[in-house]
């Protein structure tokens, strides 16, 4: 938990849940697990507000609670989850992915669930169907059954998952948890995400019951549209909540990253082969596995999309090419069955992260610095003289670049004394690049960048608050006038209330904000890559 992370989390919380939650959230992030009274006391916030904020945080999974450290009976303690808060930044990407995979319905389902933290199946289906109907033209409406089938598809592909059951509070947690979960791993985290197996299986039963109710409901209000009876009477799935499975989404992002890397490194056909391999092993490979299950060339050949006419010998050639590629996306694990192949997931992540580091150095310090950086990455340890020679850069310039990189902490210096007195004249100074710490450094920079971007955006909107409010007001007036079918002169009159320079200013502001928002989205892609690389090294 670094200062940059806390700052970014604070900004994200503020933007999505308001100032109060931000205060409580950052306090929790800074000080770790705390109980209700302490939080209220230390943040100087009324108890009711603290409760409300905690409800919001827990609802969105950004906060966990458990019985206190001082044994049973001690007050409940709350712990904020920074990783979950940072996920907020990636919401647009999750939603977009759902759209590309499952169309508008999928998009809205994921959007709703993200916005509300967790929802029941029936509730989601109703809201989404209402929203879709609202957007459709008159006389048409969205079938509940259609939405719920998309929902079940999302669950089948693990993009949505059940919220883990809440651990029994208070009285006797150690006795209740093992009974429900069986013996293994019920010690500290009872809400472990993937452990309870009940989590993905039961939708079948649920959907059947949901559908029946909805179809009955459908005939009842054929005209569709909005209705206020969101308080479900009884849908049979109360208490079964669904949340977005971020890990599965990340897996998808990772696979996409690998595929697009292969296609830009080699060609379209090889990327298609890798895509097939990844798709085949999607179900059999655990999210944290270092490489996919081995697949024989025969199997891959059979599973290739039929419209992609690749003959068997050509496939073999492509596979050898992929294996020989220095990026090592694909590896060979055996010779049986025409050769067994795996996708090196962790290797691929490491290589992608390395490429990111290299490109950062290249863009910030020029291509010659990047050459030095790559050289150090490949040769591990080099003396200054060797760097100059290998990189074929004049000594003076090389020295300059090397020192700049060193001062930016992208390159490290290792001293190896020949004598125990560490005398500089009798010491080797070896330059080296440590990929993992450098990636961490860069990740922190990214967090800082995003926080700065958000802050800048807030500043811009604050500066132009008056103007924005005015334009909003005028738009509202225009809309109401148009609705009442006013004269065109009246309309232009109202439109002219915004002067030309004001219009220009608004336009500029809109452009700036769009750019800042875009930048946020795109930094997040780098954040994702670096995060998954760092995470992959942790599980090794």
């Amino acid at each position: 938990m670094t200062a940059q992370e806390v700052r970014l989390c604070g900004l994200l919380l503020q933007e999505h849940f308001g100032d109060v939650v931000e205060k409580i959230g950052t306090h929790l992030l800074r000080s770790g697990a705390q109980n209700l009274r302490t939080i209220a006391n230390e943040t100087n916030t009324p108890l009711d507000l603290v409760k409300k904020s905690l409800c919001v945080l827990v609802q969105h999974g950004a906060c966990e609670f458990g019985s206190g450290r001082r044994g049973p009976g001690s007050p409940v303690e709350y712990r904020a989850d920074s990783e979950r808060v940072l996920r907020i930044l990636r919401y647009p990407r999750y939603i977009y992915t759902a759209k590309t995979l499952y169309g508008d319905t999928g998009e809205l389902i994921v959007e709703e669930v993200l916005q509300r933290g967790h929802m029941t199946l029936s509730n989601t289906v109703k809201t989404v169907a209402d929203r879709l109907t609202h957007n459709m033209e008159e006389g048409r409406n969205m079938e509940y059954s259609e939405v719920s089938s998309t929902f079940s598809k999302l669950v089948e592909t693990h993009f949505l998952q059940r919220c883990p059951p809440v651990a029994e509070m208070g009285a006797a947690p150690p006795t209740t948890t093992p009974a429900t979960h069986g013996a293994p791993a019920s010690v500290a985290p009872p809400t472990a995400e993937s452990n309870p197996d009940c989590y993905k299986l039961p939708p079948v039963k649920l959907i059947g019951c949901g559908k029946r109710r909805h179809s009955g409901d459908d005939t009842e209000d054929q005209r569709g549209g909005k209705k206020a009876k969101m308080d479900s009477e009884s849908c049979g799935d109360e208490g079964i909540y669904w949340q977005v499975n971020f890990e599965r989404f990340h897996q998808h992002f990772r696979d996409q990253a690998i595929i697009s890397a292969v296609s830009s490194k080699l060609d379209q056909t090889s990327s298609e082969i890798v895509r097939t391999m990844l798709r085949m092993s999607e179900v059999t490979t655990t999210p944290s596995a270092a490489y996919t299950q081995p697949l024989s060339a025969n199997e891959i050949f059979r599973s290739l999309p039929p419209n992609y006419s690749i003959s068997r010998p050509i496939l073999d050639q492509y596979l050898t090419l992929l294996v020989d590629d220095p990026m090592e996306f694909v590896g060979k694990s055996g010779d049986s069955g025409g050769g067994m192949y795996v996708v090196n997931l962790h290797r691929a992540l490491a290589n992608l992260a390395r490429a990111t580091l290299e490109s950062v150095v290249q863009e910030r310090f020029g291509s010659r610095s990047a050459r030095i950086f790559r050289l150090l990455l490949r040769k591990r340890h080099l003396e200054q003289k060797q760097v100059e020679d290998f990189a074929m850069i004049p000594a003076k310039e090389a020295k300059d670049m090397l020192y700049t990189l060193l001062s930016e902490n992208l390159v490290q210096l290792q001293e190896i004394p020949k004598t125990p007195d560490h005398a500089p004249s009798r010491t080797f100074y070896l330059y080296t690049v440590n990929q993992l710490p450098t990636a961490r450094l860069l990740l922190q920079r990214c967090y800082k960048t995003v926080a700065n971007l958000i802050e800048r955006r807030l500043h811009e909107t604050k500066e132009n608050k008056r103007l924005l409010e005015k334009s909003q007001r005028i738009e509202a007036i225009l809309a109401s006038l148009q609705a009442s079918e006013a004269e065109p002169e009246q309309l232009t009159e109202v439109e002219d209330m915004i002067t030309a320079p004001e219009r220009q200013q608004l336009e500029a502001l809109r452009r700036h904000i769009n750019k800042l928002d875009c930048a946020e989205n795109q930094v997040d892609e780098t954040v994702f890559l670096l995060e998954s690389y760092i995470f992959s090294t942790r599980t090794k």
């Binding site: 999505h16 409300k52 916005q115 863009e363």
Partner: protein, 217 residues
């Protein structure tokens, strides 16, 4: 130790400058006395952002999401601080958020008990509950009794004030307990006893017709 005697000038370093790559003739970089600028000049222009349909769509999604969060009940605002005077009508203006109520309906079984806050019913037909009206005087009686007791004690002997304090504490505790007990039913039936007794004005705006009828009587 050896380095110390060498005196001034360049000798202040404990090592040969040549070893680090700074020759005899070269000067050391100047020392700086102020922090580096907040916005350092960019030596290299950043690469332009990606563009395309995907990027535009994500941008729209992001802005839409941001706008939507403000309207969701999860966006918590602090209750507006008290203005100049207490008005009679304050009671009936419940449009603004209150600190003591929550605007959405969480599943309390998934939350620790201590977090329970009264849920504000969206727009409800309220039935003033008989149970509570009975309970109020009960609580009142207890209070009166305890107060009488304490007063009696005061008269009887000039007891130390500590005891009184203790009594007070006790009564407070009792009150709290009573409130907690009350709460279970409150949660189901209504928000607050005052709120339930008086029509809290939410229906006043003519939202629901049935209540309007009631109000005119």
């Amino acid at each position: 130790m050896a380095g110390r005697g060498r005196g001034r000038g360049r000798g202040q370093m404990t090592f040969n400058l040549e070893d680090v790559g700074i020759g005899r003739g070269e000067s050391l970089p100047p020392t700086t006395f102020k922090p580096s600028p907040l916005y350092p000049p960019l030596s290299v222009q950043p690469v332009p952002l990606q563009t395309g349909e995907e990027v535009d769509y994500m941008l729209a999604l992001k802005q839409e999401l941001r706008a939507a969060t403000k309207t969701l009940p999860f966006y918590i605002r602090r209750a507006a601080s008290k203005r100049d005077v207490d008005r009679y009508s304050d009671k009936y203006q419940s449009g603004e958020p209150k600190d003591c109520t929550i605007e959405w309906n969480p599943d309390w079984s998934r939350l620790p008990k201590e977090l329970c806050i009264k849920v504000r019913k969206p727009q409800g037909k309220r039935t003033t509950s008989q149970v509570k009206r009975l309970k109020q005087p009960l609580v009142g009686k207890e209070e009166i009794l305890t107060k009488l007791e304490t007063l009696e004690k005061k008269e009887d002997a000039v007891n130390s004030e500590e005891e009184e304090d203790e009594e007070k504490k006790k009564t407070n505790e009792e009150e709290e307990q009573a409130e907690e007990e009350d709460y279970e039913e409150d949660f189901e039936e209504d928000t607050d006893y005052i709120m339930s007794y008086f029509d809290n004005g939410e229906e006043f705006g003519g939202d629901s017709d049935e209540n309007m009828d009631e109000a005119t009587y």
